[in-house]
């Protein structure tokens, strides 16, 4: 009998040790990344232009990351919410629904490098845009869409049935019920989903190597609003290395003596942005839940 009790103690201690080790590992990684970048993360690094061989800055690639996040959100937020509404409200058992479910699962499992190659054929070559921010955003949309749809579906399903009955009992049509009752109540979940997927888009690199490209025009003039001018930072039709891709590019080319410093600084910056999205998602969802439940 004693042996059983000892085994229980040992197992409990082991489980605590695993949890503690995971936390320590995470803390060590974050502290190391931030520590390694302390001397580098200055305004001139974050906002400045890259230099050939020198330290330079990451301003243009950081801009590209946010710009492509915006483009991708422009595509996937409406489409993802719509797809989520279908899955939660309209989908009946049938061939179409099971095909959609399978597609949703398949896209989530397909390696992002393969999505990138698909983008190379479909969005870079067939469209004739070449390596461009738009092609990259479409590739990102490919695997963000099913994610957005799933998160929306979960948020919609969490809306209590009573709210639906109340709406229908007032004589609303199904779409009026969705539009004015179900979706507004699900907004906190949907917004949290948008921000969390934003973190993933922001950090993605493999799907962008062959779609948004490994080069980018720098020396941006933000007053140039002509979206068809490839030199404008607002143009979707220009190559656009993102921050994550830039880290990979810098380390794989290994040119100059500042490689380590650039990659350290850019990694810390990338991590801080992603952490920012994570914290932002929590805070905004808390505020929205408070506002909606109070009303």
């Amino acid at each position: 009998m004693r042996r059983v009790l000892v085994a229980d103690r040992v197992a409990t201690a082991t489980l605590w040790a695993i949890a503690l080790a995971a936390l320590l590992l995470l803390a060590a990684m974050i502290v190391h990344l931030v520590w390694a970048a302390v001397g580098t993360l200055s305004a001139s690094f974050v906002l400045g232009d890259p230099e050939f061989l020198g330290l330079g800055g990451v301003g243009p690639v950081l801009w590209n990351s946010f710009y492509m996040l915006f483009l991708t959100a422009l595509i996937t937020v409406p489409a993802g919410i719509a797809a989520g509404i279908y899955m939660a409200e309209y989908a009946a058992e049938g061939r179409l629904t099971s095909a959609i479910r399978f597609a949703q699962e398949a896209i989530s499992s397909i390696p992002s490098i393969v999505v990138g190659l698909f983008g190379l054929v479909a969005f870079v070559n067939l469209t004739g845009w070449g390596f461009s921010a738009l092609a990259g955003s479409l590739a990102l949309s490919v695997f963000n869409l099913p994610l957005m749809a799933r998160l929306t579906e979960q948020a919609l399903r969490a809306v209590p049935a009573d709210e639906r009955y109340a709406s229908l009992a007032l004589g609303s049509t199904k779409w009026q019920m969705i539009r004015h009752v179900v979706v507004p109540l699900a907004i906190p979940g949907i917004v949290t989903g948008i921000i969390l997927t934003a973190g993933r888009i922001f950090g993605e690199a493999a799907a962008l190597l062959f779609t948004a490209g490994l080069t980018t025009p720098s020396n941006y003039h933000f007053e140039n609003l002509n979206v068809l001018d490839p030199k404008s930072p607002w143009s979707p039709f220009r190559p656009a290395t993102t921050l994550a891709v830039y880290i990979w590019k810098v380390q794989s080319e290994g040119l100059g003596s500042s490689v380590k410093q650039i990659a350290d600084g850019a990694s810390a910056l990338l991590l801080l942005c992603v952490l920012g999205f994570n914290v932002g998602a929590r805070m905004i969802s808390r505020v929205l839940v408070y506002r909606i439940t109070r009303a």
Partner: protein
Amino acid sequence: MSTSTLTAASRLLGRPRFLDRLDLPRRLVTAAAGSMVLIVTLMLGFVAWNGIQIFLTPGSNAGSVFSTAWQPLANPASFGLLPFVTGTLAVTMLAVAISTPLSVGLALFLAEVAPVWARAVVQPALEIFVGIPSVVYGWLGITILVPWLRENFSGVGFTVGFSWLAGSLVLTVMILPTITSIAYDAFRAVPGDLRAASLALGTTRWQTIRHVLLPASAAGVLTAVILGMTRAAGEALAVQMVIGNRPTMPTGLTQPLSTLTSQITLDMGNTVAGEPWNQALWTMSLVLLLIAVGFVLLVRWLNGRRQTF
């Protein structure tokens, strides 16, 4: 509201307006969801079409695809994919073998052991683990893991540090949150009555975990492991950065090797569409795609066998 009620109502009220009959919102959301089917079909189509080209082009030495020799620049060129398929399997399997006990342990901790405050710390930590971009994992691998292996374990054969083990260790950390969160859901799905019944028989918590909880959630835990495997096999940049990229059959844990994803990452930019080298890379993507679809089917089959309570 049932359709018949609606029809009855519309009969009373007269013919519904054209726009109502069209039900535009419904069509729009259906199209949005249906677009995912279109995307997958196109993707399968494009990748499959490009992936089989090497077998359709005369003189591309397609027979060499099934060999172990990857010499795209030799004359005659040889495009053996076995080193990469084996490399992907090797790196993935080792990562899953290391990560599974840790992740399942972490999930058990969260589901069964952790007091509320500990769960409130570990769960957000897991979300941060997921959020760390793969290039950052790769960069940490290059700057910390690889030098550490080279400097402390050169005696056992880590001459350069870039190695099978380095790749697997980076993946171990990357798939930890995937396996943990899905296994955690599986444990939570086991009803409390089962635990209570077991504990009422006088078992310890560990006995309950081993003999009740784990068997009851086996299909769910296996699903978690397979999804971890999917992520590991498909990860490109983090692996490419630490694995050493030597296109030979894996020779040992301390030696560099190459995987399907890492070789595509490295070579795609150096090739021209239509040449056999490029076609071989597409064949690799086709293999990756088929692996992914295979895992999806496996997970579906497992879910069908999942015990419901």
